[in-house]
C-alpha cells in the first residue's frame, strides 16, 4: 500500500524582493509502506518545502497529500490537518531539542500530550532512550550534550510514539563526518526495529545513497528523476543528476555521420558508440573512475597533472584542449607530460549547458 501520496503539489511564495516564486511544482509521489525514500537536491531545490508540506507546516498552493490513505491536505476542498494531528515523527537539522527540559521530559513530551498514564510514559521513554543508547541520562539537560547526543534525543522523541512515518530534515548535516556515518546505521537499525516509513531530505548524495531504497532528485522546484540509488548513479536522466550524484566529466562533443568527435576536431573520432537518440552538438558525460587509461590503446591524451588521493590516483588529461579527470587505482603509471590513451566504456549523452537555467538557479538560492 502507498503510505504517502502527493498529487500535483505546488507551492508558491511571495516575497518583497523577488515577487512570486514557485518553490515546488508538479510533485507526484507514491511512497510505499516501510520504504526509505530520500529527496535529494541542492539548496533551494524545494526539497525542504516538500517535506514541510507533508508535515503540515506549509499550506499547499495546489494539489493533494494523503497519509496512510487519508487526505491531510487538499487545496481544492480547503482541507488541512494541522501537524499535531498527522501522527508523524520528525527530526530536524538543528536538533530542536528543548533546552528548558531534561532528556526525560523531552522524550516524554509527545506521550504527555497524549495524556498517557504515568507508568506507561516511563517505560516507553526508557525503551526509546535505550534504543538510542541514552539510557541512564534521563535527568541531564540537553545544553550539556554534544550534537550527536542531542540528535539522539530528537530521534528518541520521534520514535517514542511509534509513528508510521518518520520525516528526517537533514538530520545528519550538523554532525561531524565520523558521527554521521554511525548515525546512518542507527537510523536504519531503528527503522528495522520500529518499522516506519522514512522520508529523508538531504543535499548529501552519499548519505542518500547509503540510506534509501528509492530517491527523488529535485532541481529548481521540479522532480527530475526517481529511481533506486544504483540506477540513478548509473543512468542519470539529465546532466544535472549526473553532476549531482558523483564526480563527472562533461566533454563538449559533436556527432557526425554516426561518429563522435571532440569539439573543434573532425579527424579523430572518439572510441565510443554514438547515441541513437541525439544528433549534432552534445555533451559526453563520464565518471572519472570508469575511464580506462593505458599506454597504447584508445584516444590519445597528454597528462597535465598527477594527484595522489590515497587509495586512488587522479590524472588530469588534456584531450585536444579539453581537460578530463581520470581516477585509477594503479599507481605511478604516468608522470606529467606523458602521453596516454583513454577509453570511455559507458558514457552518457546530454544536451549542452543552458545559461538561463544557471541564472534561474542563482535566483532561487536567495529565497
Amino acid at each position: 500500500m502507498d503510505q504517502i501520496v502527493l498529487k500535483n503539489v505546488k507551492k508558491t511564495f511571495t516575497t518583497k524582493a523577488l515577487g512570486t516564486v514557485t518553490a515546488v511544482e508538479n510533485i507526484n509521489l507514491n511512497i510505499k509502506e516501510g520504504e526509505c525514500f530520500s529527496i535529494l537536491g541542492p539548496s533551494g531545490c524545494g526539497k525542504t518545502t516538500t517535506l514541510r508540506m507533508i508535515a503540515g507546516f506549509e499550506d499547499l498552493s495546489e494539489g493533494e497529500i494523503y497519509l496512510g490513505g487519508k487526505p491531510v491536505s487538499i487545496k481544492e476542498k480547503g482541507l488541512y490537518v494541522p501537524p499535531e494531528n498527522r501522527g508523524l515523527g520528525m527530526v530536524f537539522q538543528a536538533f530542536a531539542v528543548w533546552p528548558h527540559m531534561n532528556i526525560f521530559d523531552n522524550v516524554a513530551f509527545p506521550l504527555k500530550v497524549q495524556k498517557r498514564p504515568k507508568d506507561e510514559i516511563e517505560s516507553r521513554v526508557k525503551s526509546a532512550l535505550k534504543s538510542v543508547s541514552l539510557d541512564g541520562m534521563e535527568k541531564v539537560f540537553p545544553g550539556d550534550l554534544s550534537g550527536g547526543q542531542q540528535q539522539r534525543i530528537a530521534l528518541a522523541r520521534a520514535i517514542v510514539v511509534n509513528p508510521k512515518v518518520m520525516l528526517l530534515d537533514e538530520p545528519l548535516s550538523n554532525l561531524d563526518p565520523k558521527l554521521r556515518e554511525n548515525m546512518r546505521f542507527e537510523i536504519k537499525a531503528l527503522q528495522k526495529k520500529y518499522n516506519f516509513t522514512i522520508i529523508f531530505v538531504t543535499h548529501d548524495q552519499s548519505e542518500a545513497m547509503a540510506l534509501s531504497d528509492r530517491m527523488l532528485v529535485m532541481d529548481m522546484g521540479k522532480m527530475v528523476q526517481i529511481d533506486t540509488p544504483t540506477n540513478l548513479y548509473n543512468h542519470p536522466a539529465t546532466k544535472f543528476v549526473h553532476d549531482f550524484l558523483g564526480q563527472s566529466n562533461f566533454t563538449n562533443v559533436v556527432e557526425k555521420d554516426g561518429k563522435i568527435y571532440l569539439e573543434g576536431d573532425d579527424k579523430h573520432p572518439l572510441p565510443v558508440k554514438a547515441p541513437t537518440d541525439r544528433k549534432g552538438e552534445m555533451l559526453m558525460a563520464t565518471r572519472p573512475n570508469t575511464i580506462e587509461i593505458n599506454h597504447n590503446d584508445g584516444f590519445e591524451g597528454k597528462i597535465i597533472k598527477r594527484i595522489f588521493l590515497t587509495d586512488l590516483i587522479e590524472y588530469l588529461v588534456d584531450i585536444k584542449g579539453q581537460v578530463i579527470r581520470v581516477q585509477t587505482p594503479h599507481r605511478n603509471m604516468f608522470a606529467a607530460n606523458d602521453t596516454c590513451y583513454l577509453k570511455f566504456p559507458s558514457p552518457m549523452w546530454y544536451e549542452r549547458e543552458d545559461e538561463k537555467a544557471a541564472a534561474e538557479r542563482a535566483k532561487r538560492m536567495l529565497i
Binding site: A55, G56, F57, E58, P82, P83, E84, N85, R86, G87, L88, G89, M90, F92, Q93, A94, F95, A96, W98, P99, H100, F109, P110, V113, Q114, G143, A154, R157, A158, V161, L167, D169, N174
Partner: protein, 574 residues
C-alpha cells in the same frame, strides 16, 4: 600597585614589571570611577548615618523611616512598581508574540507605532494623559461627561491607578522589545517539533514558547522594575495634586523643603538609602521568581519562522491592537498638539480658540533657548565622555583583566540600578565644596558629572560585548607584525568595535536629551535642561506653552531616533 601584580603571566614576569599602557588605563579607570561613583555614594551613606559633628547617628534614619507619610510613600512605591511591572510583562509579552509570531496584518505599521512609546519620555506621556483625564479639567473627561451627561468625571488619572496605568504604557516596551527580538531569533523548529509531537498551538505556546522566552522576559522585567521603582516623572506629574507620593518624589520634595539645610538633606538621604534597599530587594525578588539559566535558542539554519495562523481571531486581535495603539500612542499626542495650539488652557477645543501664540511665546523666551542649548551640550558631552570611559573600562575589564576587575565592573554599572534622584543627592553632597573645595553646585558641570555616572553602564555594556567578540588572535597578529600594544589597540581593536562605539554614543545622547529625574534636583538658574523647562512651565500653570515645548521635544526625539536607526543600520559591519 598590588592591583596588577597577580595577573602577570610568567612571560610578563620575565619581562619585569612595567608601568605601561594597560596599567595606565587601569589606574585611570579606577580613579575616574572613584570620582563619579564611589564618592557620591559614600557621601550619601556618610550623611545619613553621621551627623554634622561626625558622630554616628542612627536615630534620624529610624525616625525618617517610621514617619507615617514616608511609610505611605514606601507602600505606594512598591505597589505602583510591582503592579506596573506585572502589567508591563503581560502586555509586552502579548504584543511581542502577536507581532513576532502571528500572521496579524499591517505588521510594519504596527511595529513603527509600537516603537513610539519607547521613545516618548514618560513624564511627557503623563502630561498628555493629565490633559485628557485629570478630573473635571481633562478634555476627554469633559467630552465623556457631556456625551453621556455624567455627573462626575468617569476617569481620574491623578490617582495611584492612573500612575500605574501610565507607567505600564510607557515602560511595557522594555519587555516587548526584549521578547520580540528573541522570538525572532528563536529557532522555529523548537516549536515545530512540539507540533509534530502532537501538541496543539496553545499547548506549544504554554509549554515551549513561553518557557523559552523566560530569560528575555526576565531581562525586560528587570528593566521595568528598576525604572519604575526609581521613576520620578510620572508620579510627580500625576501624584502631587492629590498628595500621592512615592519615594523618588518624596526625596525631591524633601530636598526642595530642606532648602540647603543639613538636617533636611539628611532626611532625603535617609529616604534615598531606603529606596536603594527597596530596589535591591526588588532585584532579589525578581531573580527568585524568574530564575533561569541562559538558553541557546538561536541556532540552525535561518528560516522564515512559520507564522502562526490566527484564523478566526485574526481580525478581532488586529482591531484590539489598533485600538490599543490609537489610545496609547495617537490620541495622547493629538491631544497634546491640540492643547499646544489653544489660546488658553481650559478653553474648548474648537477652531476659534486655536493660535500659534504658545509656540511664539515659548521660543522667544531666553530660558527656553538656554535650556535647549544646555540639553544639547549635556547630551553631546555626556555621550562623548561616556563613550571613551565605557570603552576604557570595558578594555580594562575584558582585555587587561587586572585583579579586582569584578569590582571595577560593578562600580561602573552600579549607577544603572541607582535611582537618578539618589545619584543626584550624592553628587550634590560630594561637589558642594566639601571635597578639595570643589564647588559645582548650581552649575551645568554638576549635571554633566551626574549624567556621566548615570549613563556609563550603557556604553560599557555595548563596548564590552563588542570587545569580547574581537578575538585575541587579531591583536596578537598585529603584535607579531611589530605593533606595540598601543598601536594594536588604536589600529586593530578600536576600529573593530567602532560600530558599537557609535551606537553607544547614541544610547547616551538620546535619553540624556529628555532627562528629568537627575536634573530636576541639580539644575541652577542658568542650567535648566529641556526636561526641567517643560516641567516648570507646566508647574507654573503655563499648560499650553508646556504642551507646545513638549510637542516640539517629542518631534525632535522621534526624528533623531529615526536618524540614529538609519545611521546605525548603515554602519553595521564597519
Amino acid at each position: 600597585m598590588a592591583l596588577f601584580k597577580d595577573k602577570r603571566t610568567d612571560l610578563e614576569k620575565q619581562e619585569g614589571f612595567k608601568f605601561g599602557l594597560e596599567q595606565g588605563l587601569t589606574l585611570t579607570s579606577v580613579i575616574l570611577l572613584a570620582v563619579i561613583v564611589v564618592i557620591p555614594v559614600a557621601m550619601i551613606i556618610l550623611n545619613t548615618f553621621w551627623d554634622a559633628d561626625g558622630h554616628l547617628d542612627l536615630a534620624t534614619f529610624w525616625n525618617v523611616i517610621v514617619r507615617s507619610d514616608n511609610l505611605k510613600a514606601i507602600r505606594n512605591t512598591v505597589f505602583i512598581s510591582f503592579s506596573a511591572t506585572i502589567g508591563c510583562a503581560l502586555i509586552g509579552v502579548f504584543f511581542a508574540w502577536l507581532l513576532g509570531r502571528s500572521d496579524i496584518p499591517a505588521k510594519g505599521l504596527m511595529r513603527t507605532l509600537f516603537s513610539i512609546p519607547f521613545m516618548i519620555p514618560p513624564f511627557l506621556g503623563a502630561m498628555c494623559w493629565d490633559l485628557m483625564f485629570s478630573g473635571r479639567g481633562g478634555y476627554i473627561n469633559k467630552l465623556l461627561m457631556s456625551l453621556f451627561s455624567l455627573e462626575s468625571p468617569p476617569i481620574e488619572i491623578n490617582s495611584i491607578g492612573g500612575i500605574i496605568f501610565v507607567e505600564i504604557i510607557y515602560f511595557f516596551s522594555f519587555v516587548y522589545l526584549q521578547v520580540i527580538s528573541s522570538l525572532e531569533r528563536m529557532d522555529p523548529t523548537l516549536e515545530e517539533s512540539a507540533r509534530i509531537a502532537g501538541a496543539n498551538q496553545m499547548y506549544v505556546i504554554r509549554k515551549i514558547t513561553l518557557p523559552l522566552m523566560i530569560p528575555s522576559i526576565s531581562a525586560g522585567v528587570l528593566l521595568v522594575l528598576i525604572s519604575t521603582l526609581s521613576h520620578y516623572g510620572v508620579p510627580s506629574i500625576l501624584g502631587f495634586s492629590q498628595n500621592i507620593y512615592t519615594l523618588p518624589t518624596k526625596i525631591v520634595e524633601r530636598m526642595y523643603a530642606a532648602n540647603g539645610s543639613f538636617e533636611g538633606i539628611r532626611e532625603a538621604t535617609a529616604l534615598s538609602i531606603l529606596l536603594v534597599v527597596i530596589v535591591a530587594i526588588g532585584l532579589v525578588v525578581q531573580r527568585a521568581v524568574l530564575n533561569v539559566g541562559r538558553y541557546d535558542i538561536i541556532k540552525g539554519k535561518s528560516m522564515r519562522p512559520t507564522l502562526i495562523k490566527l484564523r478566526g481571531a485574526r481580525i478581532p486581535l488586529f482591531i484590539i491592537s489598533l485600538v490599543f495603539l490609537a489610545f496609547v500612542v495617537i490620541v495622547p499626542l493629538v491631544v497634546l498638539v491640540l492643547v499646544s495650539f489653544l489660546k488658553a488652557y481650559g478653553l474648548p477645543i474648537i477652531r476659534e480658540n486655536f493660535s500659534v501664540v504658545n509656540y511664539v511665546k515659548v521660543f522667544s523666551q531666553k530660558s527656553v533657548i538656554q535650556a535647549i542649548k544646555n540639553s544639547l551640550f549635556l547630551s553631546v558631552s555626556a555621550g562623548v565622555i561616556c563613550l571613551f570611559l565605557g570603552v576604557m573600562v570595558a578594555y580594562v575589564v575584558y582585555k587587561v583583566k587586572p585583579r579586582g576587575r569584578g569590582l571595577i565592573e560593578m562600580l561602573a554599572v552600579l549607577p544603572y540600578s541607582l535611582p537618578g534622584t539618589v545619584l543626584s543627592i550624592g553628587v550634590i553632597l560630594a561637589w558642594s565644596g566639601k571635597i578639595f573645595g570643589i564647588k559645582l553646585y548650581n552649575t551645568i558641570w554638576i549635571i554633566l558629572v551626574a549624567y556621566c555616572a548615570r549613563y556609563l553602564s550603557y556604553t560599557l555594556k555595548s563596548s564590552a560585548s563588542a570587545l569580547q567578540q574581537v578575538h585575541y588572535s587579531l591583536e596578537e597578529a598585529s603584535r607579531s607584525c611589530g605593533a606595540t600594544k598601543m598601536r594594536a589597540l588604536l589600529d586593530i581593536t578600536l576600529p573593530l568595535i567602532r560600530p558599537a562605539m557609535v551606537s553607544g554614543f547614541f544610547m547616551v545622547f538620546l535619553p540624556a536629551m529628555r532627562e528629568l529625574t537627575t536634573s530636576v534636583l541639580l539644575y541652577g538658574p542658568k542650567s535648566r535642561t529641556l526636561g526641567v523647562q517643560i516641567y516648570q512651565l507646566r508647574d507654573n500653570g503655563y499648560m499650553c506653552q508646556a504642551s507646545a515645548l513638549a510637542a516640539v521635544t517629542i518631534v525632535i526625539i522621534i526624528v533623531s531616533n529615526k536618524i540614529v536607526e538609519f545611521i546605525t543600520k548603515d554602519r553595521k559591519g564597519v
